[in-house]
């Protein structure tokens, strides 16, 4: 299973590296158009070919990785930042009105069709990376709230929490001092998974034209731009598609690997 972790980490690192390198170097300027040289298949000059405006696909994929990672990362960050405290609070006040409100609110957000809401958000706020982040982030909140609450509830039953309560510590203090560190593993794993889902969601949103706006490259929009040209220039659809698949695959493998690696049950059996 560490093989998964390794492979996943490797893939993820590769994508991350590509994104980071793109800040200082890309083979070509990713926005420079050269319309006479459009739709060229991969060759020595353009490693991944050129798009319908004659832009270098490899450079666009590199910068696009930046967009994907930034959007997904911030969206997951929003989800964690808001969801985890909500989950902790709900667990700390299990059964109270606060718990009830948080959990029903969660259910409600879950009940909304996410893509429709994303489209609505962009209809209200306009299309753009920031609004894509908001749309994806909103649906990450209940995911983290729920998973945090679930894990926290079982921790609240543990004796060391009772000991802390006997020591007179407040719910908030116990939550941050004892519960949070112990759900961190779980959150890291879930964060990885949500991150990969975020990348997919960003691709889906840009595909319908709601993500980052041109000229900022985005893998999903590259796919959307490519779709009518699949039969004349297949690399246009294959390159961003494979980029998405590999990135998501890498993150998922890493998440799975981390889960196995960090699973306390497995650790106990190893010890």
């Amino acid at each position: 299973m560490t093989r998964n972790l390794l492979l996943g980490a490797l893939l993820s690192m590769l994508v991350l590296l590509m994104a980071l390198v793109s800040f200082v170097w890309t083979p070509y300027d990713h926005v420079a158009m050269n319309i006479p040289a459009k739709l060229q298949p991969p060759d020595a000059e353009h490693w991944l070919g050129t798009d319908h405006f004659g832009r270098d696909m490899f450079s666009m994929i590199m910068v696009g990785a930046r967009t994907s990672i930034a959007v997904a990362l911030v969206a997951v960050g929003i989800g964690m930042l808001l969801g985890v405290p909500l989950g902790l609070a709900a667990a700390a006040r299990k059964g109270s009105w606060l718990d009830e409100v948080i959990m029903r609110g969660n259910d409600l957000v879950f009940a909304f069709p996410s893509l429709v809401i994303a489209i609505l958000i962009t209809a209200v706020l306009g299309a753009g990376a920031v609004n894509a982040i908001i749309a994806i982030g909103i649906f990450n909140i209940p995911v983290f709230a729920r998973i945090t609450r679930g894990a926290a509830l079982s921790l609240w039953e543990r004796d060391f929490i009772l000991a802390a309560r006997v020591a007179g510590k407040s719910g908030a203090r116990i939550s941050f001092e004892h519960i949070l560190p112990n759900v961190m593993n779980l959150l890291i794993v879930q964060g990885t998974i949500q991150f990969s889902l975020g990348i997919l969601a960003e691709a889906g949103l840009s595909y319908v034209g709601l993500g980052a706006q041109p000229p900022t490259p985005s893998w999903g929009r590259m796919l959307a731009d490519a779709q009518t040209m699949v039969s004349i220039a297949p690399h246009l659809a294959l390159v961003p598609g494979v980029a998405i698949v590999l990135t998501v695959l890498g993150l998922n493998l890493m998440g799975d690997g981390l889960r196995d690696y960090l699973d306390p049950r497995l650790r106990v059996s190893r010890a």
Binding site: L108, F110, F112, P113, S114, L200, S231, I244
Partner: protein, 315 residues
């Protein structure tokens, strides 16, 4: 259980009220006006005003909310601003595509995922497990709209086994209808099947570690018998939750797939309605979807009780 039901009912109603308010507010603040959209760029202001009053858009927002929400209670969703037909009729028409599509996709994903998940769990750590898990990883990672594009290319354009899209209509017969839903259903089912297979597997593996599985083995059941008779049913509980979530997702989440296969489904209706600012249609469909998710969750809860006797209550 009853107290629980009552509590759930109250929170369900409250949820719906909150949902309707949120939906209404979000949609109403979206810039754009259905009347202007209908009349285009050459329309004169008095014409737009005339249309606005014809559509009932000139009354205060809160009153329109009350009319809409009140109407929904008696099953009247109002009249579409652009199509000028009752929204309920439009939704009903689209449901005849979206509902079968969702069910079809769910059937496919279940039929693929259950055996795959059970097989993988029974061969944990071996080549078969690795193969299934690898396939599911790929299934989760492939964007379904991309997969749909590729399927159209292969099966509709090159092999011509299926039409590239569109919906034959049920009046042409069930087979014709299913035939035109096959590719969309498969592309929708792919990621769902992958997720479901993974949940099935991990849920089964959890169950395999339970004491009663060892009890079953001690009775003389073989590994396979124990898995089937004692494992699968217990493993179904988390799987059901996922199926419930997936169904709602399939009902609403097919927007892109409906676009690729130009199917007259709910997703495309919403998409069109948003772009034409047919607010009442958007509001009603989103409300319906929210309602269906909440209802499906409720049904899933009931289904738990079928699977798990601990949740049934003896009278």
């Amino acid at each position: 259980m009853l107290r629980y039901s009552l509590k759930r009912l109250i929170s369900l109603v409250l949820s719906l009220v909150v949902a309707s308010l949120v939906i209404f507010l979000v949609i109403e603040v979206a810039p754009g006006d259905p009347a202007s959209f209908m009349l285009g760029i050459n329309a004169q202001p008095d014409t737009v005003a005339a249309l606005r009053s014809e559509l009932g858009l000139d009354v205060p927002k809160w009153q329109r909310y009350l009319d809409w929400a009140g109407g929904m209670l008696i099953g009247d969703f109002g009249t579409s601003y652009t199509y000028r037909t009752p929204v309920s009729e439009m939704i009903a028409d689209r449901l005849w595509v979206s509902l079968p599509l969702a069910l079809f996709a769910l059937t496919i994903s279940t039929l693929v995922a259950f055996p795959a998940g059970i097989y993988a769990a029974s061969r944990r750590g071996r080549a078969g497990d690795a193969a299934v898990m690898g396939a599911t990883q790929l299934g989760v990672a492939i964007p379904n709209f991309w997969f749909a594009m590729m399927m159209v290319l292969v099966f509709a354009i090159n092999l011509r086994w299926f039409s590239a899209g569109g919906f034959a209509g049920w009046d042409k017969g069930i087979l014709a209808g299913l035939h035109s839903l096959t590719l969309p259903a498969i592309s929708l089912a792919l990621p769902q099947a992958a997720i479901l297979a993974r949940v099935m597997r991990s849920s089964l593996l959890d169950i395999l570690g339970e004491d009663f599985m060892r009890t079953a083995r001690a009775k003389g059941l073989s590994r396979g018998q124990a898995l089937w008779r004692h494992g699968v049913r217990n493993a179904l509980i988390p799987v059901l939750t996922i199926i419930g979530l997936q169904f709602s997702f399939l009902l609403a989440g097919a927007i892109i797939i409906e676009q690729v296969f130009y199917l007259p489904g709910l997703g495309r209706l919403v998409f069109q309605a948003i772009s034409s600012r047919d607010l009442i249609v958007v509001e009603s469909v989103v409300m319906l979807l929210v309602f269906s998710v909440i209802t499906v969750n409720f049904v899933v809860d009931l289904a738990y009780a079928l699977v798990d006797p601990r949740l049934r209550r003896r009278s």
